[in-house]
Symmetry: C2
Subunit: 433 residues, 2 copies
């Protein structure tokens, strides 16, 4: 294994830890579930400075699992295994690891006490079958499971580490984050990786890429990596730098972000820092409303309730959110929001006068400080020569004024709904800048 | 390879095709994206009667890819490869396959004409770099890509088939479904698999499992497989049977479904048949409204716009959906839906009188045939001794009457919102039974 960091640190050798992830379970091989565990593990390892060489999904068969272990240790020095634990799986992973490492099972009192605690909490009795779950391979160090019945297992054999974790995502995530990663960090002197993510809204990936190409080129010289993470209406830009001196890394990454701001500040709505709380756009907007003691109402047409849903899926939103009118038909725009028949007939529902009047009306009617209104052609049908599919008007009403903007999104109904919602939320956010 | 079906067919040997899926790309190994391609391929292969032995994700490195190919062909006779195509990936898959199969690149006129067509459609010029994409290994049969620029490649070497497809999901999906699977079906006499999925709503997985355990035991005798596919408020039950006589398989599966109906008919809202159009619950409800020429309005409190969003994400919903009031605050319940202060004070917003009055009011106000109303404590905060978190009232107003039901869901806000929405839609669906 090449160690490219070996010469960059004076006092300490930085270890290059290479990992392989093995997931055990037929449900992945028949396509019943998507393997999100591997993505979570890979992402966390990457953030921790560990290189993932391969991800392998194998069936619940002993020989197949053993073969995967053989192959994995040729490539990696730490092997992460998930799944195949628990009585319904016939504890295939535990049995296979015992055979593979030529060790026997022993009864573990601490694991059994965890088991009793969990069963008692659910008001269930511990049966003799359950008791078997407290048996662990003699050779392994037990990793206690605080969220379920199957313990994790840590094997250290011939300089290779094998870590077996349960397949239930929240059990695995807690065990990996709180117990496994800290232990690996103690054992190895891992490089430090600084990741910062710049959150942008209102600019497409390819246009963004053109706009920042010069800046992007400058990253390569500093060995900084850039990843584009797009979703409808938004692109997250992740900037990563590996090294040994956290302060130097942070200074360099922050300098690059300052340079980026000079180019695309109008599209940036926030930042994510790995390991910290990272609020979504709707949470950012919600916090701004709460902190400024302001209220919000919404009049939705083309978004059909999606903006209200984004706002209300956040707990505590009743502090600032009052309610909405989903005015899907012309009739409701007239009756509930007082848009005149003449204006609707003259300009059509997807127009500046209508969307601005919708925002004004809902703000007055619901007696709020701010309001959002949307009207557009979500598609895929409904386009005309004048107004093609993807045409959307968004209005914001504030205590001072009402303004609106026109957008032309794509042909995909779902994407148009999401893009409109994210754009509208970002327009409101800018009111508090 | 064991062929368990060999003796069941008189005239034709049924082939046991074993597959391996290899995805190429660093973005999976760093956890940047979840590998949904493999799940899609695995699911489609499973439905087609092909057994997937392993799924492997490897980085964009030649030697690593070659090693994965070596290992895969020990286990499988058909190897599916995605990713690593296209100019930004430096065409690593194409180059590696050339080296692996000791073949050279040739220029393909048909692929080049596809390329020109796509570039022209996007108003772009074909550069010399783009022209390289029309080069393909001499040894392979080209699979035309009708949705993108990177062609698929089919290699048939020493009795093993290697199929390379682009990593862009919609390009891969179209190529696999429309070109690759039909070709495999021609080459192999695959077993027939009948899959039918029973859609249930309103019963949890464990309670459902207890209720149908006797029926479930009876499946094993017939070699029928059952999979539970749960999501908030719904459980899909997939019943699968493999064999050689489609008619017999269908008769047996249908018989089992009839038996199941006798036990859980009240929870079944529909069926999915593999390969046919399978509408969602909101589409089923939408179609019922449209076909009966009826209209719908909604008054949402705890669901905060989510039901309206589900209804309006379906194109053409303006045929039956008129609009909604999201009455989040007490004030809006009073002012917009005419709920009296006294009733609110006496019973609280989460109560039968309030939810029924919400349904009645929105139906009258929006002049629709039907309406849905919801009021509940989505959580995680807001519970009281009388009304714990997860308490939800749902009302349906019809041309004849108004009725409501109380539910106690869980502690998770997002799940409570979704469960409420699915339950409400199913209550409305039952109006048309």
């Amino acid at each position: 294994m090449v160690n490219k960091y070996e010469n960059t640190s004076v006092s300490l050798k930085v270890s290059r830890v290479e990992a392989e992830i093995i997931t055990i379970g037929d449900e992945i091989l028949i396509g019943q579930i998507v393997d999100t565990n591997s993505a979570f593990i890979a992402s966390l390892l990457n953030m921790t400075g560990i290189v993932v060489k391969q991800i392998t999904s194998v069936s619940d068969e002993k020989n197949h699992i053993k073969n995967a272990l053989d192959e994995a240790q040729k490539r990696a020095n730490v092997i992460f295994i998930t799944g195949g634990l628990g009585p319904t799986k016939d504890d295939i992973t535990k049995k296979t690891l015992c055979e593979y490492f030529n060790t026997a099972l022993r009864f573990d009192e601490a694991v059994f006490s965890d088991l009793i605690r969990i069963f008692t909490a659910y008001g269930k009795e511990v049966t003799p079958t359950n008791r078997l779950q407290a048996e662990v391979p003699e050779l392994c160090t037990v990793i206690r499971n605080h969220n379920g019945t199957a313990p994790g297992m840590w094997f250290d054999v011939n300089g290779k580490i094998f870590i077996s974790m349960p397949g239930v995502p929240f059990e695995m995530k807690a065990m990996l984050t709180n117990q496994v990663i800290p232990k690996i960090k103690e054992l190895f002197n891992l490089p430090i990786i600084v990741h910062k993510t710049v959150l942008t809204q209102g600019i497409g990936e390819s246009y963004l890429s053109d706009l920042i190409s010069g800046w992007e080129d400058s990253l390569a010289k500093e060995d900084i990596k850039l990843a584009y993470l797009p979703s409808p209406g938004m692109v997250r830009l992740r900037i990563s730098l590996m090294g040994t001196n956290a302060e130097k890394l942070n200074v360099l990454v922050n300098k690059k972000i300052e340079e980026l701001k000079l180019i695309i500040s109008e599209f940036i709505y926030g930042y994510e820092i790995f390991g910290e709380e990272n609020p979504s756009l709707e949470e950012i907007v919600g916090n701004l409303l709460r902190n400024n003691n302001k209220t919000l109402s919404i009049a939705e047409s083309c978004t059909g309730g999606y903006i209200s849903h984004l706002i209300t899926k956040i707990q505590g939103c009743s502090d600032y959110y009052i309610g909405s009118v989903i005015a899907y038909s012309y009739d409701i725009k007239e009756k509930e929001l007082g848009i005149s028949k003449d204006v609707l007939a003259l300009h059509g529902a997807v127009s500046q006068p209508v969307v601005e009047e919708m925002a004004r009306a809902v703000r007055n009617k619901f007696n709020t400080d701010y309001s959002i209104a949307t009207s557009g052609i979500a598609g895929p049908g409904g386009g005309t020569i004048d107004k093609q599919v993807g045409t959307v008007w968004i209005a914001i009403a504030t205590p001072k004024n009402v303004y609106s903007e026109k957008f032309l999104f794509g042909k995909n109904r779902e994407h148009n709904i999401r893009k409109t919602a994210h754009t509208a939320l970002n327009m409101l956010r800018k009111e508090f800048e």
